[in-house]
Symmetry: C2
Subunit: 394 residues, 2 copies
Amino acid sequence: MISEHFKSMLGQKSVIREMNAAAYAMGEKIGHENIFNYSLGNPSVPAPAVVNETMIDLIRNTQPLALHGYSEGHGIYSVRESVAAYLAKTYDIPYRAEHVFMASGAAGALAHAFRAVVCPGEEIITFAPYFPEYGPYVHATGAILKVVPADTESFQINFDAFEQMLSEKTAAILINSPNNPSGIVYSTQTIQKLADLLHDAQKKFGHEIYLISDEPYREIVFSGVDAPCISSYYENTLMCYSFSKSISLPGERIGYVAVNPACKDAETIIHMCTQISRGIGHNCPASLIQLTVAKVLGETADLSVYEKNSELLYTELTRMGFSIVKPGGTFYMFPKSPIPDAVEFCQKALEYQLVLVPSNSFGVEGFFRIAYCVSNDTVKRSIPQFEKLAANYF
Amino acid sequence: MISEHFKSMLGQKSVIREMNAAAYAMGEKIGHENIFNYSLGNPSVPAPAVVNETMIDLIRNTQPLALHGYSEGHGIYSVRESVAAYLAKTYDIPYRAEHVFMASGAAGALAHAFRAVVCPGEEIITFAPYFPEYGPYVHATGAILKVVPADTESFQINFDAFEQMLSEKTAAILINSPNNPSGIVYSTQTIQKLADLLHDAQKKFGHEIYLISDEPYREIVFSGVDAPCISSYYENTLMCYSFSKSISLPGERIGYVAVNPACKDAETIIHMCTQISRGIGHNCPASLIQLTVAKVLGETADLSVYEKNSELLYTELTRMGFSIVKPGGTFYMFPKSPIPDAVEFCQKALEYQLVLVPSNSFGVEGFFRIAYCVSNDTVKRSIPQFEKLAANYF
């Protein structure tokens, strides 16, 4: 019989997708240009031209059997060498190809990292607010996701709550900075304190605690913001990266796991990733896409529009009376709902064609997410609508 | 701590990869042109030119955000429509987009199919000889793989043994025709009898038994061979397809699951596949690759070389004294080892620079696999070496 487990998951609706569907339905009625759809985290700036040029060059000038042939289970070796060299140069950490596993985006990278360093029944601790897909990602591995309540004043880490949650069952810590949905970047002070606590906890519990660092927004950091390289502070770090946001290739499913060379069992973990792949049917990202990103490392799409949008929304919304922790990066912000029920607030916002996502699915009550990966013009045109919405509350 | 389960898998060496490594080491010493590497099932004919032309055309003429953007969890809808229309026309079965899930090659397709219709603890029955990766694929789902011993006279199905293995625990049957490693294509008579037995078993046990049909070699069938469309004979069929072999794109990781429209819960199964993806970090094949294959459906690489190689090897090896069930397709054949110990035989073959794979890992003793996806010239030059090898036995 079909799996009741996966069948029952069909009932679990994504609030984000529901809001997006509501936006679409409204757009069909009154014109999509009149809808301010802030629901989806889909890049709004195109991939840099060099991506397409590189693809065409590869297709034209590579022997087809080599271009489209099987890649090794770990990813194409030359691609892993390029990624390692780029990381080593950028972050001054001696990564080599043996520390890099090519994965199908951050989702693929996390799927491997979780299975490599966490066993069924062990715990992974993450911090609210957090990306809702962490739930099903971890659940499928048989591990347990524990969530530290948010520090809603700063959206940095609530260390008191975290210390209470650490136990001998803790196998890994999962962080996401720059953060979806808060837009906050963990400061050097936060990362240093986290590393200190984890070093202590490793001693106390007598086993490794791995830090799984989900970094798809790493390149989207606004000017002047303190954005430390997380792997530099803690040896047992598995960096999970995606090219989806930085070069606007979300559909091409490309990213990697890079294990800190100083991590215990670093190379073994990478070898284990290929064994994990066998069971989950992953078998590497597409060859052409692997070869392409290896040639455009360090390139980004024009990310400046996100900072421009962030500035405008932050200035205008705080002026109207909204309380917001200022984003340090990404294309999200996470204002406080003016009423305790964020779902009700987001329903109200729909009356003004503003499509926002209530915070509940991110593990926090009473906030809402604005995904401002839209054109600057759309943001500008949305301000009067926010004014009307705000007039109900302030 | 790192997962002992996946760490222990590092010890499990693939015989195929070991033979390939032996071939490489030998080639470094005496020149790769002097090695007859029949170990790997890697296509030797390039992708048809239309594939690269289509890719370049898509890159040039598609808006980058659309081209490289997120695809729906099920795959890009227009791609699913194209695949369904192609299947409907080709096999006269009324597939619609709702019956198609885009997957990262056959491995990805099988990973989803197993989880959709088989629950942990239930049984999947397959038939020796079989692709060794079925073991880890099924093991990772928590289901149990049962193997029906081979009918070594024909490599069709050993129905007596199969009937004994069918039980109320049987959730699915996994077949692979045209077959790796035997090269045999299941006849209409075989498929009809299999369908009849499964219809009876469904009644007897009071639940569905799904047929998971792994079809990456579907287009590589030699002239005059009876090669029925399996889905036409049994409603509850999940067709798992890959473009790796037919258009020589193994590295691009693209395929699909197509559920027979008459299958119980057909559309639900496809929806469930997207839920399964969430847990295993799959999230669709690359967008560019999806869009490309949708435009080249029905195209194939120049597959004629495989039939030519097959004819030559079959004629020459049987003349020398080898006993072989004549392949009906693929680029494999599976002769009987002239001595009971196929491992010893394959070691002997290495002395003649012939790299063959012993049958043990395919679930049968005393045979060996020849993967003749090499140039016709390589096959010709290998014949004198086979002569020398045969002289030891016949």
